[in-house]
């Protein structure tokens, strides 16, 4: 450290020290690119679970799916889907609000999204308690809990991100300029991904 400062003091100030400057694309900011690449990797993870699901469903080939005597609460899960889908609208409202400089709207949107997400998770856990089968019951039980549990874990992570964004919003952070509300934008994109994933999980596991 000291030798570096001595070197600077001997006329080497024009030389760049340390790692090179990170490249900044003019097309997309680093944070958004980062979350998009992360989502691409997550899609592959979910893809592996869906492949397992269809493999088990087709190869094990029970006379009925879900295998007798198990049933899935389609209506409750459908209501839960509506709750999660509506949370995408509230996070979008939060973002639109801060883009227009409406801080109160952003806070309202964030709190509503957090509450809807927590409600979804609560109903999901409640569903697990009352389902009447566990992950040990046949390959159906294993893949059902794996797929919905994987998604539940993502909702939990999304809620953590939203918690940080909400705390920051109430502390007066974020502004109307795009670079000033990336702390809401990035969790918002992640939340939309979690929402889309649930729609696919619901249609695949509960409806088809």
């Amino acid at each position: 450290m000291e030798s570096a400062s001595v070197a600077v003091g001997h006329g080497h100030a024009d030389h760049h020290h340390g790692p090179p400057e990170a490249n900044q694309s003019s097309r997309i900011d680093r944070q958004t690119l980062g979350i998009l690449l992360f989502i691409v990797s997550e899609v592959m993870l979910f893809g592996a679970f869906f492949a397992s699901y269809f493999f088990l469903r087709v190869v094990v080939d029970p006379p009925s799916w879900p295998p007798h005597p198990y049933t899935l609460p389609v209506a409750v899960a459908g209501m839960n889907t509506a709750i999660l889908v509506s949370s995408s609208f509230t996070i979008h409202y939060a973002l639109e609000s801060i883009r227009r400089g409406n801080r109160a709207g952003m806070k309202l949107g964030l709190v509503a999204t957090w509450m809807l997400g927590a409600t979804f998770l609560f109903i999901q856990i409640n569903e697990y308690v009352h389902l009447g089968f566990s992950a040990r019951d046949l390959s159906f039980g294993s893949i059902f809990y794996s797929l919905t549990g994987l998604h539940g874990a993502h909702v939990f992570v999304g809620l953590m991100l939203l918690t940080f964004a909400t705390i920051r919003a109430f502390r007066g952070h974020f502004g109307p300029k795009a670079e000033d509300h990336l702390g809401v934008e990035v969790p918002g994109i992640y939340w939309h991904f979690v929402d889309v994933m649930w729609i696919i999980v619901y249609v695949t596991v509960y409806i088809l």
Binding site: S26, I28, V85, L95, E185, G188, H192, I207, L208
Partner: protein
């Protein structure tokens, strides 16, 4: 337009509408019909999504 939350939200709406169609068809007919329709929608969505992303990337590059 930048690739941002608003652009992603549009896709949430598209996926939601597509899922609603698949659910309706499945409930009206058989799960196999719904699954085939779902597969067709996924393939069409992937092709459209790829073209959309390519076009968006070109637009953003042209504004540079």
């Amino acid at each position: 337009m930048k690739i941002n939350e608003a652009a992603v939200f549009k896709w949430v709406v598209i996926v939601g509408v597509a899922a609603a169609v698949v659910i309706a068809v499945t409930l009206l007919t058989r799960p196999l019909v719904g699954a085939l329709l779902g597969l067709a929608i996924v393939i069409a969505g992937c092709v459209y999504g790829y073209r959309w992303m390519e076009q968006k990337w070109r637009e953003l590059g042209a504004k540079k």
